[in-house]
Amino acid sequence: MAEENTLNNEEYDAVVLGTGLVESIVASDIAAAEKKVLHIDRNPFYGGDYASFSLIGFIEWATRLRDRSQVPVVDIAIGDVEMQLGARKSGEVSANNLLPETAQGSCQVGEILAMLSEYLSSEQLEQLSNSDVLKRLAGESRRYALELAPKLTFCRGPLIDVLIAAGMAEYMEFKGVDANLLVTDAGVERVPDSKEEVFASTALKLIEKRKLMRLLTTISDPEQVSKLTSEHGNEDFGDLLRKQFKLDGSLLNAVLYAVARATRPISVSEGCARVEKYLKSIGRYGRMAFLSSMYGSGAEVAQAFCRSCAVAGGTYILSESIKQIEKTESGYVVELSHGRVTTKSLIMHPSYLSDATESETEVPIARRFTVLDFPALGEDTTSMLSFVEGSHVVSMLYLTSATMVVPKGKSLMYAWTEGRYSQSKELLDRAIDSAVGDKAHRMLSVGFECRALAPRGGYTCTPGMADESVDLDSAVQAAQQILDAFFGSGSNE
């Protein structure tokens, strides 16, 4: 193709490697400042750590495309057939032998079997090729949007501000998150997060209503918040809730985990800020604090930024491998499979450094999701959930056809927590079980671990993975830091 040559020796103001959300925001902002941007992804898809896939696309990612240093193992269960996509099984039946037999059913089924065959025993392959569940999943493959790091958008926060300012909100579609739920032994409980909810709640005891309202009104009052933070700012937020606000049991869990999302201990200042942000988000677009974007979260938002970057003149190449990166006096020379370019700035996801290793400071995230053959928590609705067990907190999202990520009548439950997958798998399963019960409804279950890759000194790198937070604002803040450095801090506004 002609483009192959046009790349050669082009000069750019910035080359951005990776199309995850952080990289995409950075690329879009730099292009908006009328700089020349080249934005590259080694994968054939957008979204990086936040990518979203069709069902077949997900299997393809798991078997062929994922970066094995970042995601070493993927567990997949289709109906009753379980497999682990780590090491490949050798000497088993080649998929090609099997294809003619199954192709008569559906070519999507054949495609999936071909990709999975090397991880399966011949009995499993036989079982799977006759699986009714697989046929149903494969037949509607394109109606699934399965995400590596599903997230929500705060109704008031940095991301929504950027989307509005850049006019992107006009062509993106969002739905409100209908409920914030706490998963308990008795099932799911709605978190009463506003005065109306507190008043109308039948789950709360009267005195609990008073305790909760006392907290909500205190945190809605800037004067009282500044008094709290000046007196107790560095103390533990959980302790403050227990001692000063006398919260305990599921009420404490609701505030500390479902609202403040303290998956690790947080200070009083941090806790107040988080609850305040949550409360301010309520009422902007309705009664809920969060929005969920249609067709998937981070990848959709990332693509919106890429689009606006392209409109501002940015150049895009997918499926482009990086051969070599060379530092020069005035910038970098990047050798790509389609040529060589020079750039003043180079910003990349750490996985683009050939010798990137797992971060020693960042805790990995264990993730699990399952496709259910019924709308477990209601059709046409979106919920966020928290499951608390001792000191472990699992964040969860329940999605349906409301955001077009599953076909009608199906639902999708994500669960994730900080920690090794091997040690958290059961915890995540218990969380999903407590929320939706009955395993018989699971069509597809997937589990994997995301490891953060550490940047190497001397390079400007974006975060090594999508973090465990439930919203996308941390990605915007990470992008802002990089942009501040790029433009020289302070010059941007």
């Binding site: 008043f199 109308a200 009267l206 005195i207």
Partner: protein, 313 residues
């Protein structure tokens, strides 16, 4: 002033003078009607012109033809709807709407009720809206709707409104008006009262400083059938306040506690113990410093109670 604004003012004044002189000359024509339309769009608060406009309507020759009158007044309702949206608190426009509906040969009350529900959704505590709603409901009953169904629906409507915002005074007030009939209709008087009590308690615990639920509780006392029931309601109230105060001391519950004891004492002079009386004095003392604006009020109540209860310092 900008040239543009200057012109606007000039044309408004000309129109204003024009309409007022037509009024003085008792001109009742389509032309003058159109002039009032233009003027009222600019200034909805000219009640003289709303009055004049009604005069024009009734003096038009077509007025006597009921079909034409229906069309004209339906147009008036539409005109008012547009204007009311921009100034929901205008007495004159609500007045005009009531007039138009009264004169309308075939009024559609169901439609009006739907409209007022929409207006209340925009501004749930608007007393014009609530007042108008009561008017519409009374007209529905007059024009043949089953009164008990209409009232029950209204009662349910207040439940929805209070659930949406438990500080909606208009909704609590309307509920208080509807409750007696609701009690009469229901075969389970106790059940209805228990629901009311739980609603009050929920509101008190959600926001003890908001006075709506406290007032409603007082009112609920009034409609009890026996002093025994009143006694029980007051003891429930006292227990709730004690629980609230344990968590945090605040003004309204303290005042309500004293009030509850005073009410209890009026029902039965033996009901309030000496210790409880001393507690009341103690609370009034604290209130004087907590709420210094009403210091005198607490002082007055204290003096009165001391005399009544014969307690000394």
């Amino acid at each position: 002033m900008h040239e543009e604004s200057r012109q606007k003012v000039a044309s408004y004044c000309a129109l204003n003078n024009n309409v007022f002189s037509s009024k003085a000359a008792s001109v009742f024509t389509h032309e003058t009607l159109d002039l009032t339309t233009r003027l009222l769009k600019d200034n909805t608060e000219l009640h003289t012109i709303w009055n004049y406009r009604r005069d024009i309507f009734t003096h038009l020759p077509e007025w006597t033809d009921l079909g034409t009158r229906q069309t004209m007044l339906e147009g008036e309702l539409q005109f008012l709807l547009e204007l009311i949206k921009s100034n929901i608190k205008s007495y004159w426009m609500w007045n005009q709407r009531v007039w138009a509906l009264t004169e309308l040969p075939k009024p559609n009350w169901e439609l009006e009720l739907g409209l007022v529900a929409k207006l209340l959704a925009l501004d749930a505590r608007n007393y014009h809206g609530w007042d108008y709603r009561r008017y519409v409901v009374s007209m529905m009953k007059k024009s043949g709707a089953d009164p008990s169904t209409v009232d029950h629906n209204e009662f349910v409507f207040t439940t929805d409104q209070i659930n949406r915002d438990c500080a909606n005074r208009s909704a609590w007030h309307n509920r208080s008006k509807l409750l007696p009939a609701e009690l009469e209709r229901s075969e389970d008087r106790e059940g209805v009262l228990a629901t009311e009590m739980s609603m009050i308690m929920n509101a008190i615990y959600t926001d003890p400083e908001d006075q709506n639920a406290w007032l409603y509780h007082e009112w609920l006392l009034d409609i009890q059938e026996s002093d025994g029931d009143r006694n029980r309601l007051l003891r429930d109230k006292i227990a709730a306040i004690r629980e609230l105060l344990e968590l945090e001391e605040s003004k309204r519950p303290l005042i309500e506690l004293v009030d509850a004891f005073v009410a209890l004492d009026m029902l039965d002079a033996q009901a309030v113990t000496g210790e409880e009386k001393r507690e009341c004095m103690d609370i009034l003392e604290r209130l004087k410093s907590m709420d210094s604006y009403h210091r005198r009020r607490y002082q007055d109540l204290e003096t009165q109670l001391r005399r009544q209860w014969n307690t000394s310092n």
